[in-house]
Structures are given as structure tokens and as C-alpha cells.
Amino acid sequence: MKTLSADVVVVGGGSTGAGVVRDVAMRGYSAILVDRADLGQGTTGRYHGLLHSGGRYVVSDPHSATECAEENAIIARIQAHAVERTGGYFVATHVDDPSWGDEWAKGATDTKVPFEEVSVTEVLKAEPRVNPKISRAFKVEDGSVDGWQMVWSAANSAKLYGAQILTYHRVTNIERDGDRVAQVICTDEKTGEEVRINTNFVLNCAAAWGGQIAHMAGCPDVQVVPGAGIMIAMNHRLTNSVVNRLTYPADGDILVPVHTVCIIGTTDQKADDPDRLEIAWDEVQQMMDCGELLVPGFRKARAIHAWAGARPLVKDSRVGSGDTRHMSRGMSIIDHSERDGLKGLLTIAGGKLTTYRLMAENVVNAMCEQLGESRPCRTADEQVPGSEDKKNYVITHRLEEREHDRFDDQILCECELMSKGMFTRALVDQPKGNFDDLRRQLRLGMGPCQGGFCSMRATGVALQSEHIDVERATGLMRLFLKNRWIGIWPILYGDQVRQTALDNWIFQGTLDVERLPGPTHEEVV
């Protein structure tokens, strides 16, 4: 057993938790973040990557629209490397009522979301694949963001301010001392060791899993309902700008270019368990139909991977504390001292990736208030590590780098241009990481071949590192193949069938990977 202590324990390593731990650390608190898995492994990493201009909410949720517009500019500045300023369009397709655009434009003006009405010709010139039958279009400042990079850079910033980030630490209990939070008990999933953290304050940022955490502290019935949505990555950028449908927010209304792919999203289905989200065939079909509306021929384009994420939607009648200063639409802060009579615990849920920094600011303000302290938030003023040069991501980035290191380094993942150097450096940082952990930072196996050529290379290189023996390396390879398949089989049609057949020829046919000696059950951690 190991005992640690910190002013604040942040539970949850998604965008909210990373934003919160950065914020508390920058305000001078000692802080520890714990997550049962890797950073950004939950909802943060399972969405479409849109950095909202606010345009999506100008009618349905004006307050959120304004917040998005403001935060968009801040994030693009402080986390420049994670953000691509793609720009975006709202387009009325032939099944949409173009006159709704008037309402939209009024909303955008009122909410101060920057926009400009542009001609259909201009849209088609910039984005030749967009449906030529669109009748009206507005240009907005949408961008795309790499959620993993966003989370990791926020966490790295927190570390510079003394915070500890403990991934693969599952919270098993929260001990109270009378009406106060006293200790967070975790299990180190990699070693099995129990870790106790003495603390005065717990910020519950576990999002869709937040109800489970609150329950451990003896605060029952916090209902965070997972709202599941599926996303599908297409093999290459069908558009280089974000394309939104000019309608009231609905399913399948957006196409977002992120890195080398573009992502169509999303659906909204109530789920029972955020750890078991299904990607139903009819939802895939629905996305395809929506894609056809935006880009004709979408069904013939190549889908390479699908995933589902769980929006954390708070349904709690006792939320209305009357203190709306800390509340904004779309994000909910539950003060358990008011709700349950427990001091030192705040639960935050809801919100959007775009406004994650603001959510953190709000919840940390609420904490300071409860503690009776006044420490101002500084997270909007300072670049995270790696983004000091304020240069935004551009799609050509890796190709240009490769042009310079092609005589010095091997490429392991050819689709996403991940080099051996990148991989071995990441292994040094995360010696216990599995290939999916490394993938989220390096894009290993995320291109068209979905690991068909790089999985074996990654295994071999990992084995050459000091910490990994052949059983673990082989287990990691098996786990990676299995995990990739989870996102492949629901969209297995068209060109991806050819790829899968070739990948099967390689792994099962040539390498006979099925017949490797055990462990037959892949290592989970």
C-alpha cells in the first residue's frame, strides 16, 4: 500500500479532468489526477473532433453558442498545436428549408458568433465535393481539435505546476471524515497495489461515470445518463472545412476534417452502461444517408473505423441550487455540500469539449468559494507546453517532417506516418502503456490499413525496449488487433473489405498469428 496526499484529487482523465487539474495546479493547489485507464480514453477521445464556432447552438442554446465562440478563440491560442483552423460552413441541403437560415443568422448575430453568408458557388469552389444542390450557406470559424493532444498537453501543463497524473488508477472508494471528504482509495491497475490519497477536496470529473464516483462518497442517485453517439471516420478528407447542416441540431448533421480523415457524426441514443456502447447497423446506415446529403457519393467513399462515445447528461432534480453563477447551460456542477451535506466534493458533468477550459474554471471557482479562498483562474492566459510558438496544426505537418527525416528514421505506421523514433520515445514516457495508449498520441494504426502493416512492427520494436518481454509484446499485439476490429466490423463494407481480407492474409495467412503460444486471453492492461 502507498499513501499520498494532495489538496485536491481530480477523478477522471478526460478533457474536463485534465482542464481541472491544470486549473487547480495553476492556482497553487497540490493536485493529483486519477483515472482508471489512460488519459482521453473515454468520451473525450470518442467524439468527432469539432472545435465549435458556436454556430451549432445559435438557435437551440444561445448561451452555449456565445461560450463556444469565446472558448474557440482561447483554445486555438493556448493549445495551438492541437487545433486546426479549418473554418466551417453551415449549408442548407436540398431537404432543408433555406429560410431557416434567417433565424440562424439572427441567432448568430445575437450570440456574437462570427459568421458571413457566402454564395453556393463560393462553397463549391472551396469544397468541390459538397452537394451542389445546397441552396444557402454561411461561413463560420469552426475548427477541429485532437482531443488526445488537448488532454495530454493540459495534463503536461499541470505537471509543470506540480500536479501528479496517475493513469490506470481505479478509484475503489472515497472515505469521509464526518461531513468532509478525507481520502480517495485507488487500485494501481498495473501493479495491483492499493493507493490511498489523503485530501480535502475531490473534484469528480468522471463524466458518464460520475454517478458511480459520487455513490462511493455516499452521495446516491446522481444520474449521469450516457447519451451514446456513433462516429465514422472516412479514409481521407472529403472536405477540408467543417460542413454542418443548416438545421436545428439533429443526428448526422456534421462532417469534420481531423488529421488525415474526416468524421461524420453523430447519433443520440440513451445507453444503459457507458462501458458497453453498441454501434448498431441501422445507425451506421443512418450516418451513410446523412453523409450522402452533404457529399454525394458518400456511401461509395471508404469508411475505415467507427466508434461510439457517451455524452454525460446530468438528470438530477436537485441540481437547481439557485447559484447560477457557476452554472451554464450544457454544463452542470453539483455541490454535494448542498445536495448531500458532504463538504469537499463537487461533481461536474455535461458541457462540450470546446468549453472544457471554461467548465474547469467554473468548477474550480466553486471549489475556491467553498474553501473561502480567492485565487484567480489563469488558464486562458498561458500556452500549454508544446504550443508556445502558437502555430496551429496543419494537415501537411507530418508529410513535411517526413521529408526531412526520411534518411534518419523508419516509418512503422505508413498510413499515419508514425516513425520508429516517435514510437520508441512514447514507450519511454509510457513504458506500461498498451498499443492503444500509444495510438492515441501517435495515431498508430489509425489509417486505412488499420494496423495491417504496423502492428507487427510495433510489437517488434516494443520487444526491443527494455521493459517488455515476449509474452507481453505478443499479448499487446493480440489486444491491439482485437481492439482495432471493434471499430472495423460495424462499418465493414466497400474498400475496407479488401483491406480486411489482405490484413487477414498477412496476420492469419502468412504470420499464423492465431497459433502463437499464449496467453490466449490478451492482457487487458
Partner: protein, 426 residues
């Protein structure tokens, strides 16, 4: 002279074309691109798992076919498979394929699994995984598709098919294939090793890490055009050497592909690469011609018989669209398709139903309606397009390909002979 169009240049198409041309037919071989041989492991599989590991594939075939209704081996008897495997072996010669179709070799893969195959390149057979073997597996720092530690680590903890264990250790060489190149493919090494001077340097570098009594395992890059390169390397090292096949590009596969393509041309086959067959004309229950979409427009290829050897899903011979409608892409032939959803989510589970879809043939290899009569009187199919096999799991790909190709070719030649006899008689 009977005219035959063969579509597809994988093992089935090449073997069918050669056999037809050598049997006196005038053959055009139409292929969209390079065939699948050079993507495979460069050996001839007949049956490796059924699903248990198979030691004597020919003996196992009848039982396997019985246990797998609708499998291509149901219409390809063991003696045909044996003859066909030997036919291919003789076509490419002992420099490229050796072994006995009746008995499987157990050879190491590039991740250290022990893989069964029937015929293999002579450059591979010293790698037979038997009790007490002593291997040193040697990798090259500039070659990213081969990690000796992985091969060794898995081989040494494997209970061998014949019982017992083997010993192995790993060694790594820092030897670029070309000056200044850090990211070389196996093919680049193979080309370098075609050069006797490089070969000598290579062998010296390997020799330095070999200990007495060890057999040397190397990535399968020991020469492309020079089929003796591997044995010269072995001689220079002074130890037995074996090649381990890599993921594509597969040098042993390229050797086979080149040898068979050259053989086809020498036999008089007109090879037309690079264009896709996009249409056909049929009348009176027979296919009259296919249309080849060349750069300048469609060109008609008229023939008396047609062999469809286009492969499976990997080549696009079979396509599944976003609604999971599945089509055969040249003739839109009726397919045998399992009931229910075509894909499931268990990567390590049962074979995916999707990949068992294909065309059904009769014993002559005439394409037939599933369970019914031939679709056309002169359309034959061979290889990966045939329904019912999951070749990569069974390790049955080349066996099915060559046997169905030989049978299709022989059926066509026999039909032509009959027609000629009847013509002469009348």
C-alpha cells in the same frame, strides 16, 4: 485452335493459362494488376488446419471436405490436388518449390508461430521446427518487417507439433542494403543480394554472429532473380540457412510470380495487364466475349471458353457495398451467401461469414447456380472466387487455386477435343 480468355493472374489464373497454352489453346490472360502470389508467403499450402493442425494434408482432405459442406475441396479430390501441386512444383522447378504434397512442413513465421505448409522454397526447409533444433535468427536494423527477438521469443516457448522444443537466439546486423538508406524493404535487400559482391559482404557479416551447430534463420530476402543466392550465402557462412517469409512485399512470392509469368509467356500466352474486364456478351447460354476497358476504350476479347480466376474480396473480385449487397464484379454471377449478418465482432472467433461467400462450381469447375445447373456452358472458375473456404485460416489457398485451375483447364481442353472429334466425324 480453341481460344480461351483467363481473367486474373494469381496462382489460379497463371496455372490455368499455362496449362491451357501447353495443351494447345490460344490463351489471353487479362489481369487488372499484379496477382496475389507476391503478397503471400511463397509456399504452397494444401491444408494446414482443419481446424486442428494437419500433418498429412492429402489424407485429411476427404474428412475435411465432409466436415465442411460446400467447401471447394468437396469438388477437388485429393489425387487431383496432389497432381496439381506437383504440376506447379514442376512448372517452377526445384529451385523454387520442393517437398511432398502428402506431408506438411512446419516452418517458422516472422512472429515466431509454427506454420504448416505442403511445398516450400528450398531456401526455407532448413527451418523445420523439430525437437532439438538450434537456430540463430538474424535480423537487419534497416529492415522493419523482421524482428528476430519476436521470432525467437515465441519459437522457444512453443511446444512443437511433433513434440519437444527447439532452441533459438536472436542477432541483429547493422548492414544497409543501400548506402544511406535506413528504411529498406525486403525487396531492396533481395535486389542487393542478387549482386555477388554484396552477397559476400552479407554472408561475412552473418557468419560473424553464428556459432557452431546453429542453423541460421534470415528474413526471406536472399535474392530475387538469382535463385541460388541463398545457397551461396549458406555456403559462405558454412551453416544451413533458411528464409522466413515476410509480410508484403514477399520476395519468395515474387520469385514464384515471375517464374510463372515468364513460363506463361514462353508458352505463348498473350498477357494483357493493367486493364479491367468491365463487361461481357453472352448468347445461347454461352459467354461470347468479354470487354476489356483499355485506356483507349473497350476492346472485345472473343473466346470459346473463359476462366474466372479473379480472386476473392481482397482483389475486388467480390464486392460488398454499404448495404451489404455482395456482387461478383465481372459477370455478376449468382453467389452462395450464408444467412444472417455477414460480420461479427469477435476477432478471434469463428470465421466471418462474409469471407465464405463466392461462386459455386461443379466438378468440371463450371460456374453453377448455387445447388443448380451451370450458369453458362463455357464459364469456369478457379481459386479465391470459389465459395466456402476461409483460406487464410485453413492454410488452403494455393491447394484450392492450383487444383481448380488444373481441373478447369483440363475440362476446357477435353471439351475442345470432343468438339474437334465431332467436327471431324461430321
Amino acid at each position: 485452335m480453341t481460344r480461351v480468355v483467363v481473367i486474373g493472374a494469381g496462382p489460379a489464373g497463371l496455372v490455368a493459362a499455362i496449362r491451357l497454352a501447353e495443351g494447345g489453346a490460344r490463351v489471353a490472360l487479362l489481369n487488372k494488376g499484379t496477382g496475389g502470389l507476391q503478397l503471400g508467403q511463397g509456399t504452397l499450402d494444401i491444408l494446414g488446419y482443419g481446424p486442428d493442425r494437419v500433418e498429412r494434408p492429402l489424407d485429411a482432405l476427404a474428412g475435411f471436405a465432409e466436415a465442411h459442406p460446400g467447401h471447394p475441396y468437396g469438388v477437388l479430390p485429393a489425387d487431383l490436388v496432389a497432381r496439381s501441386a506437383n504440376y506447379l512444383r514442376d512448372l517452377v522447378g526445384p529451385a523454387l518449390l520442393v517437398g511432398d504434397a502428402a506431408s506438411n512442413l512446419q516452418l517458422p513465421t516472422a512472429v515466431g508461430a509454427v506454420r504448416p505448409t505442403a511445398l516450400a522454397s528450398p531456401s526455407m526447409t532448413a527451418g523445420a521446427c523439430v525437437d532439438g533444433a538450434r537456430f540463430v535468427i538474424v535480423g537487419l536494423r534497416q529492415l522493419k518487417d523482421f524482428y528476430p527477438e519476436l521470432v525467437v521469443g515465441n519459437l522457444v516457448r512453443t511446444d512443437l507439433p511433433g513434440g519437444g522444443r527447439l532452441q533459438a537466439r536472436a542477432a541483429m546486423l547493422d548492414l544497409p542494403a543501400r548506402e544511406g538508406e535506413i528504411d529498406s524493404t525486403g525487396l531492396t535487400y533481395a535486389r542487393a543480394l542478387d549482386d555477388p559482391a554484396y552477397r559476400k559482404r552479407f554472408a561475412q557479416a552473418v557468419k560473424a554472429v553464428v556459432e557452431p551447430g546453429e542453423t541460421v534463420g534470415l528474413p526471406a530476402v536472399l535474392g530475387l532473380d538469382d535463385h541460388n543466392a541463398w545457397s551461396e550465402v549458406a555456403e559462405a557462412i558454412g551453416a544451413p540457412v533458411f528464409e522466413i517469409p515476410l509480410p508484403p512485399p514477399s520476395v519468395p512470392g515474387m520469385r514464384l510470380n515471375r517464374a510463372l509469368t515468364a513460363r506463361a509467356k514462353a508458352a505463348g500466352v498473350r498477357v494483357v495487364p493493367g486493364s479491367k474486364v468491365t463487361g461481357f456478351r453472352a448468347s445461347g447460354g454461352a459467354v461470347d466475349s468479354v470487354q476489356l476497358a483499355t485506356a483507349g476504350g473497350d476492346r472485345d476479347f472473343v473466346a470459346d471458353a473463359f476462366v474466372l480466376a479473379t480472386g476473392g474480396f481482397e482483389s475486388g473480385a467480390l464486392t460488398a457495398d454499404s448495404y451489404h449487397n455482395v456482387h461478383e464484379s465481372v459477370f455478376d454471377l449468382p453467389l452462395r451467401r450464408p444467412e444472417g449478418h455477414l460480420v461479427h465482432g469477435d476477432y478471434w472467433g469463428d470465421p466471418q461469414p462474409l469471407f465464405t461467400i463466392g461462386v459455386e462450381v461443379d466438378e468440371q469447375m463450371l460456374v453453377r447456380h448455387p445447388g443448380g445447373d451451370p450458369v453458362y456452358t463455357n464459364l469456369y472458375a478457379a481459386g479465391g472466387i470459389l465459395a466456402g473456404a476461409t483460406r487464410w485460416q485453413e492454410k488452403s489457398g494455393e491447394g484450392i487455386a492450383v487444383a481448380s485451375a488444373v481441373r478447369a483447364a483440363d475440362s476446357i481442353l477435353a471439351a475442345a477435343a470432343t468438339a474437334t472429334d465431332q467436327g471431324a466425324a461430321s
